[in-house]
């Protein structure tokens, strides 16, 4: 079931070049889609267009059968949550509690119900002990977890992660990636992740590759991440496992797995035990 449809979307910042140029793609409900492309390919712009933070020039954005327009803006913002890149610049409240409350206040949730909601979602992101902490006392990963809690408190169906881990240290990245996977597998949320992390891409359900505002490649990771020539031309990297499998084949070791390391290792073990 389609939960997001983008048709011929175009947008320009300066009326000269199109940052997004007739982009089209669909997202299936419950899927984990990664969007990749070099900096400047239009990834963040598309994310902002989907939430209506920018006004499209032309094309259509349909979320859960509802077309995005000025009148449907608030409804759509309730269905889609977004976590941005900079952990500090989206932390509004003076404490973790206050920040999660911010979205609830905007949606006119009754004050008496707020504590319960705040505590529930803080627990879901493992920040229960930090409810009264100020942001300056939190790490980047912790702040992003709070951002996620704030988004979850609105019960969205889709969450967009706009390079949400690129400013974090490895520990923070791991925390957030684990959380995202949990949201996808256990909460069955539709995840759209704009990322540079190849491992994340390889483990997603669907990959959309952007270049100069257009969708130039799309498909499952197995289909896309092996298109070495195209990816390199787009200044993107290929997974380590792909490079290794290519090298193995040139050494006469016939392997079929291209992108998942564990499966490649298993395949090699089978080859070894055969002889």
């Amino acid at each position: 079931m389609k939960i997001l449809e983008i048709k011929d979307l175009s947008f320009s910042y300066d009326d000269q070049t199109d940052a997004v140029n007739q982009a089209s793609f669909t997202i299936e409900k419950g899927s984990y889609t990664t969007i990749i492309g070099e900096n400047g390919s239009g990834k963040s712009t598309i994310a902002k267009l989907i939430i209506g933070l920018l006004e499209k020039k032309s094309g259509s954005i349909i979320v859960d059968q509802i077309e995005l327009s000025e009148s449907t803006l608030n409804e759509i913002r309730q269905k889609i949550g977004i976590v941005f890149q900079n952990p500090d610049n989206q932390f509004i409240g003076a404490t973790v509690r206050d920040d999660i409350a911010f979205g609830l206040e905007n949606h006119r949730v009754e004050q008496s119900k707020m504590d319960g909601i705040i505590e529930r979602f803080a627990a879901e992101v493992n920040m229960s002990e930090y409810l009264n902490h100020e942001p300056t006392k939190l790490s980047g990963g912790q702040k992003q977890r709070v951002a996620i809690a704030g988004v979850l408190a609105m019960s969205p169906e889709i969450i967009i992660f706009d390079e949400a881990t690129s400013m974090l240290d490895p520990q923070g990245k791991e925390e957030i990636n684990t959380l995202i996977n949990m949201l996808h597998k256990e909460n069955e949320m539709t995840i759209i992740s704009i990322t540079h992390d190849i491992e994340e891409v390889v483990n997603s359900d669907y990959v959309i590759v952007l270049h100069e505002g257009k969708v130039v490649l799309e498909g499952t990771p197995e289909k896309i991440m092996i298109k070495e020539k195209e990816l390199l031309k787009l200044s993107l990297d290929v997974p380590f496992t792909f490079k290794l499998s290519k090298a193995l084949i040139s050494e006469g070791v016939e392997v079929s797995e291209r992108i998942h390391l564990e499966r490649l290792v298993d395949e090699l073990c089978q080859l070894v035990s055969k002889k």
Binding site: N39, G40, M167, D169, Q171, L244, E251, V253, L268, V272
Partner: protein
């Protein structure tokens, strides 16, 4: 020329209830002429340590010897400017330090502060801008017009134009896309091999450590706990696990193979070597 720390301790906000000892007796001798990675988890003291290299911070105890200067605790060192010309420190996300009207003026800012005359400053700045990959058509434009990655390059050019002997970089490629990341790291290799600059890089990226760095210094809980060559560092599986470090893909691959009974030599550190080694195992069994 030495770049060494002798029993250096550093305490933030000493004599207050907020006092925090970030460095607890650091002893390390960085090797001149090499590219050394400084690694450690957040809060280990890496950033505090590198800020001692150009005397932004002065040791609470102990002694720091940099090139021809010795900085001791409780001293009031004079003429720090001379030191700061020799040790170029690039902070994380340095694009935030751009402020001049034009890119060329911003890059000239550093050299001019260190007493270089206008003409020479412009020549050096242009050379560095070309070196980092910024085309001359950008020289007279405002730095604010650039993309994040380009701003990063301009900021780094600004430090290179000072012509330091020792270049210290705090996570220079954080947030850059893979391609920009690669070209930046290759620039540092060039600066080291061709221009003989000693380079220290604080980083979390183990792939980069393996690919580009000669030596590794590990900082943990305010102390330097290891200083070895990159090869030796990645051969020590136990250390990597202890430090909760995600190893580079090739090490992960070897670990995975080993867990299934396929043993690969520790010396194998490139994809081609790994493929050859695996092929040997597959064909000779």
């Amino acid at each position: 020329m030495p770049i060494s720390f002798k029993e250096v301790t550093y305490t933030y906000s000493p004599n207050t209830p907020f006092a925090y000892e970030a460095l607890k007796g650091v002893n390390v001798d960085f090797t001149e002429g090499k590219i050394t990675a400084i690694i450690g988890s957040t809060g280990s003291g890496k950033t505090t340590l590198v800020q001692h290299l150009n005397a932004l911070l002065l040791p609470t105890n102990g002694e720091v010897e940099i090139l021809d200067r010795v900085i001791r605790a409780n001293s009031k060192p004079k003429e720090l400017k001379l030191l700061r010309q020799k040790v170029g420190l690039v902070f994380q996300f340095p694009e935030y330090q751009l402020f001049e009207e034009t890119i060329i003026k911003d890059v000239c800012f550093g050299p001019l502060n260190f007493g270089v005359d206008q003409k020479t400053a412009i020549i050096k700045s242009k050379a560095m801008l070309r070196l980092v990959g910024i085309d001359s058509s950008y020289d007279e434009r405002s730095p604010l017009e650039l993309s994040g990655g380009q701003k990063r390059k301009v900021a780094i050019a600004g430090i290179l134009a000072i012509d330091p002997q020792l270049l210290v970089l705090d996570e220079p490629v954080a947030g850059l896309d893979p391609q920009a990341s690669k070209s930046m790291m290759n620039l540092f290799v060039e600066l080291n091999k061709r221009y003989h600059k000693t380079i220290l890089i604080v980083t979390h990226n183990m792939e980069h450590v393996l690919t580009y760095c000669d030596e590794v210094v590990v900082v943990d809980a305010g102390k330097v706990i290891k200083h070895v060559s990159t090869k030796v560092f990645f051969e020590d599986d136990r250390l990597l696990t202890e430090l909760h470090i995600t190893p580079p893909a090739i090490i992960k691959a070897k670990q995975a193979l080993r867990s299934k009974g396929i043993l690969i030599d520790d010396n194998v550190l490139s994809i081609d070597e790994l493929a050859k080694a695996i092929a040997k195992v597959v064909n000779h069994e």
